[in-house]
Symmetry: C2
Subunit: 337 residues, 2 copies
């Protein structure tokens, strides 16, 4: 029984006599033999692994995306290696390079690198970019522009005329996109937009803007993501500002957490799981013909909960009176359920 027969038993079973095959399998079972994927990869060039690089694994936006990608990959006998870039472009580049030869392709989620660097890297290893539009590469994006527009229209409809935007981190395409769309939408609604940022895209980043938001005089805020929106609400609470009575807050992402806090967060739902699946499909689809570039843009949707309320009464110009705020605000939102 030659090694090549063993090899074929595992990689091309139809080429070997059923009887021989069984003997091989029995033997393998007994010896605990399993083909060495690294050695296989060396000659075939296919590792059956895909890399998945995210900016921050602690951001609850990513886990559903990761899980969806994982299960999609598993169906095709692929495994996913997740890595966390810590919101750092340099680490990101290092990770891509390290992963390059051990995977068949990489899913780059919310990259912080420059477009040109990404294009450069894409010549070393197949890349699918998530949450960023780049012309020459396969990409999966959420239609956050639509989401931001819906959010602004919702706020304008409630009577808000001065709206704040808590921007995300500097390198983020999504943040730019939201800003662009929110600016257009506010103008159309005859309202005014105040941009605050850039900020780190987590609850601390959100909380840190509370004072600035208050000073700016806006009556409603759209945040780059839910985590920042939640942080902001915390920060505002600490300043004795009520949400949504004094200021309305809208997030983006619809993470699980946004339903667990009070007031429950009004937010733009982004289909993270669908994005994970789409990205894997895109990467594995054109197995060999590299230079295919697909683009997917996924629908977003406004989920109205309890963190948004009517804007200021247009007839009264009274002091909002934060100091006097002692009403049992949270109870109000419990009562709503």
């Amino acid at each position: 029984m030659h090694i090549s027969t063993v090899s074929r038993t595992f990689s091309a079973p139809h080429l070997v006599n059923p009887e021989t095959r069984n003997r091989v399998l029995a033997c393998a079972e007994q010896l605990g033999y399993r083909p060495n994927r690294a050695a296989r990869a060396l000659i075939t060039g296919r590792t059956y692994n895909v890399g998945l690089i995210v900016a921050d694994i602690a951001n609850p936006f990513f886990p559903p995306l990761i899980k969806a990608a994982e299960s999609q990959a598993r169906q095709r006998d692929y495994h996913i290696f997740v890595a966390d870039s810590n919101e750092d472009a340099a680490v990101e580049e290092d990770l891509v390079r390290a992963l390059a030869k051990q995977v068949d392709g990489i899913l780059l989620c919310s990259p912080r690198m420059s477009n040109s660097l990404i294009e450069l890297l894409s010549r070393e290893v197949p890349l699918v970019v998530v949450n960023r539009a780049i012309a020459g590469l396969p990409t999966v994006v959420m239609d956050v522009a639509q989401g931001a527009r819906l959010a602004v229209e919702h706020l304008a409809g409630l009577g808000h005329r001065s709206i704040g935007l808590i921007a995300g981190p500097r390198g983020s395409w999504t943040s730019k996109e939201i800003r662009r769309s929110a600016a257009t939408a506010t103008r159309a609604a005859d309202a005014e937009l105040t941009v605050i940022g850039p900020n780190p895209p987590n609850e601390h980043g959100g909380a840190a803007t509370a004072e600035q938001v208050l000073r700016s005089g806006v009556t409603a805020v759209l945040a780059y993501n839910d985590l920042m929106a939640i942080g902001l609400i915390e920060g505002l609470h600490a300043l004795r500002v009520r949400v949504p009575e004094d200021i309305s807050v809208v997030g983006i992402d619809d993470i699980a957490l946004s339903r667990l806090i009070h007031p429950k967060l009004t937010t733009v739902a982004t289909p993270a799981a669908a994005a994970g699946r789409a990205a894997v499909d895109m990467l594995l689809a054109h197995g060999d013909d590299r230079r295919t570039t697909a683009h997917a843009s996924l629908q977003t949707e406004l989920v109205i909960r309890d963190s948004t309320g009517p804007g200021p009464d247009p007839h009264s110009h009274a002091d909002p009176g934060y100091a006097a705020a002692a009403a049992p605000d949270a109870v109000a939102s419990y009562a709503k359920e």
Copy 2:
């Protein structure tokens, strides 16, 4: 210039003449050459990768552990591959096997497999087990027994005599440990323990137990983790039960979220980041002498916040009166800050 010289330039630079080395590096730079880690691994047997398998990447307990492990590994030029077992023992086994030959070792976090299977797998690839004590293997555990004891003593000190325990998933060592310790501590405090479970270890699992908790008549509850505690609080709210006025709730883990909800969660802080670092150290320490078995047990700590309050008045045997609950409870906790 021979390939072996190139090889040495990268893997043992001191063996090659500085001048030659520079020529090689210049050439490599120009050609965009990078050593193929898979091929290197084939012959050296070292991949400079480590695997990290978690039960559920969406559980906020894990990300800090993962991030700590990642940064610790990066310092030693290792990369971490994260995989999610979906709380499924079979997937877990499959992942270990798939990873086995592509990594130098695996960190098994909160495994759901049986001890015997884990021992079996540890003969194929170096394993460090986190959140489970197994005699023959290197392990990192949190001292949840101590944490559970502190929690029960805290509740007993507040006057609670009937305490509930929301158990975790079936295969979990931590859950057994908490149960054991809580039972001892309640007995010592002359109180009574009601165990509810097993349950899925997420917010839905917690919320699903709300009715059962209420029926059981306990006045305080210790949950297997924060996510379940938070879910339970939600579930109780929906039933018009106030926390902590009617029922006190304690979680375990101290995830970031536990500070963002109202009432802020009293919980047992487990040092997840330290565990991640310790596990990586343990795996990489005895690089070659396999059969070393270290055991680390990390201190836990009770963090008292707003979800626990005094037990029922021992003199009155009145109906707790859930229906009448309309007090501005959350405001009380805002005021505390």
